[in-house]
């Protein structure tokens, strides 16, 4: 996603660009596939950072302007409404901060003013720098919100949708995610992620950009302090004036001829299993009208890789792509769909042999769904088809170490590396999610590849 966005910017300004993708299809962490006659998205729960047509501020508006897309092109339908569910407390929120505000006032009357104070102290996207980005989000939040349960509840969706670090979150990442989820919001194109990808690829190609699938980069060739080209898996060599990589910071450094010691310890640890349940009816017809529910079954939110078991089902995200406000003429998706994300351990999944892997997929599907139906109506008797993918799948299709969905904990906001003309974009530059990845590709292309004449 970030690579395509960067490619569009560069091709638009007449640079010769070649995007190299190892996989046989596009999309990376947010691709799509077809199985048993049905279309599936790998990732898409929600496009975050939703702002309505005509909005001029925020990442979505910036992305549209920079890529010369019209707001209508993305066909974004806003969410119906989501919730954060902890034992005994449920906070609803939607794309207007008013709802969350009133829910907090009801459930945590003593925190009403503190929440207002929190809103005032959030740093804006453009004011985040490498200097103020670090620091503990928990500490910051606890300094303002004095009820620990509300702290946990507010953090839960933000960590789920964009925190590469275990337990705590960088202050900067917290501000980004808070804005993108609570102050902006969720939306989805009726046709899912393929619509967004199709637009990106079509535009990129129309501008003369070259896209090579099944073309993994095996090595980045280095001469002194510069990258001079890449060698593909099949031995083909390409020379390049600049190299922009969305493979991840550690993964990219490992490709460089001059850095042989990969620092796996610095790679991200958080990976997931994602299950997709196809239902025989619309989720709203069985009493589940909400778009996304972030649940946690105890007062303390645990955001860390499980170590003794394959998954940790205490917390999860339940999403129904049916529960968006699609235009009436489109109706709704043919099938009822419930997606469920659960934290998982990449290494443990990776050690299983084939038969055991398949068995454990079924086992953890059952266990994670059993955990989720404590927070939404039990949909199990309506399920007609399922698919599950694991950290192993994520790693295989994206090459990210540990199948880490949000990349490495240490972000590289300015995108620079030890080589003068090699830059990182996407997840490890600091912006995650679909909108984040696209904005990252745009800003890294602008900053490092467009400033000086060709």
């Amino acid at each position: 996603m970030s690579g395509l966005a960067a490619g569009i910017r560069l091709a638009h300004y007449d640079q010769r660009v070649c995007i190299l993708e190892r996989h046989y299809t596009i999309g990376g962490l947010n691709s799509f596939y077809r199985m048993n006659g049905r279309n599936y998205d790998v990732g898409l729960h929600a496009v975050t950072n939703y702002t309505p047509a005509g909005a001029k501020k925020g990442p979505l508006a910036r992305l549209l302007r920079q890529l010369r897309f019209r707001w209508e092109d993305l066909e974004l339908a806003p969410q119906r409404g989501s919730a954060i569910a902890f034992p005994g407390v449920r906070l609803r929120f939607n794309n207007e901060i008013e709802l969350l505000r009133s829910e907090i006032a009801k459930a945590f009357p003593g925190q009403k003013n503190n929440f207002e104070s929190l809103l005032r102290q959030l740093v804006d996207y453009d004011d985040l720098t490498q200097e103020n980005f670090g620091g503990s989000a928990r500490q910051f939040l606890s300094g303002i919100i004095t009820d620990p349960l509300l702290v946990e509840m507010l953090l839960c969706p933000l960590m789920w949708y964009g925190n590469a670090r275990e337990d705590d979150m960088d202050f900067g990442q917290f501000c980004i995610m808070f804005r993108s989820i609570y102050l902006e919001g969720f939306a989805r194109p009726f046709k899912g992620v393929r619509l967004i990808l199709k637009h990106l690829v079509k535009r990129y190609r129309a501008l003369g950009g070259e896209l090579k699938l099944r073309s993994g980069v095996a090595r980045i060739q280095v001469d002194g302090d510069r990258a001079v080209g890449v060698v593909l898996d099949d031995g083909q060599e390409l020379v390049a004036k600049r190299v922009l990589s969305s493979a991840g910071i550690i993964e990219t450094l490992r490709l460089c001829e001059d850095t042989s010691t990969p620092e796996v310890a610095r790679a991200g640890q958080l990976s997931f299993i994602e299950s997709i349940s196809i239902l025989d009816q619309q989720p709203s017809d069985m009493g589940f009208p909400e778009t996304i529910v972030f649940y946690n079954d105890c007062p303390q939110f645990h955001w860390r890789k499980p170590t003794s078991e394959l998954c940790d089902t205490r917390t999860g995200v339940i999403c129904s792509p049916n529960n968006y406000l699609y235009p009436a003429e489109l109706g709704n998706l043919d099938d009822g769909v419930i997606r469920l994300t659960t934290i998982a351990n990449h290494d443990l999944w990776n050690t299983l042999d084939d038969a055991e892997y398949r068995r454990q997929k079924m086992r953890w599907y059952d266990r994670s769904v059993a955990s989720a139906v404590r927070f939404i109506p039990d949909f199990r008797c309506h399920t007609i088809d399922t698919d599950v993918f694991t950290p192993k799948t994520i790693r295989r299709f994206t090459c990210h170490d540990n199948g880490a969905v949000y990349g490495a904990p240490e972000k590289k906001l300015d995108g620079t590396t030890h080589l003068k003309n090699l830059f990182v974009c996407g997840t490890d530059q600091g912006f995650v999610g679909i909108v984040g990845a696209i904005v990252s590709g745009i800003s890294m292309a602008n900053m490092h590849c467009l400033r000086e004449p060709n």
Partner: protein, 83 residues
């Protein structure tokens, strides 16, 4: 290009960058920033579009000259006169 042509060209670029903006009432003497929602990335795009469309090079230290329509046209006039 005459100053009027240059102005038209800049309006065209602006409408490309910010298609939702109504540029008909633009006050040439006032900074763009006060009238249309442009961030630093959009400013870079004005420079980039001029380079792409007319091969006009604008060094980074001159970006300040592009604050308003009047100053932009005045700055570009010697560079675009012979186009």
């Amino acid at each position: 290009m005459t100053p009027a042509d240059i102005r038209n060209e800049v309006v065209d670029i602006l409408s490309d960058i910010a298609p939702d903006e109504d540029l008909s009432g633009l006050d040439d003497g006032k900074p763009f920033r006060e009238q249309i929602e442009l961030d630093s990335m959009d400013f870079l795009d004005i420079v980039m579009e001029l380079r792409k469309r007319h091969r006009v090079q604008i060094p980074e230290e001159d970006y300040g000259q592009l604050a308003s329509m009047a100053s932009t046209v005045a700055y570009l006039e010697p560079k675009m006169r012979d186009l």
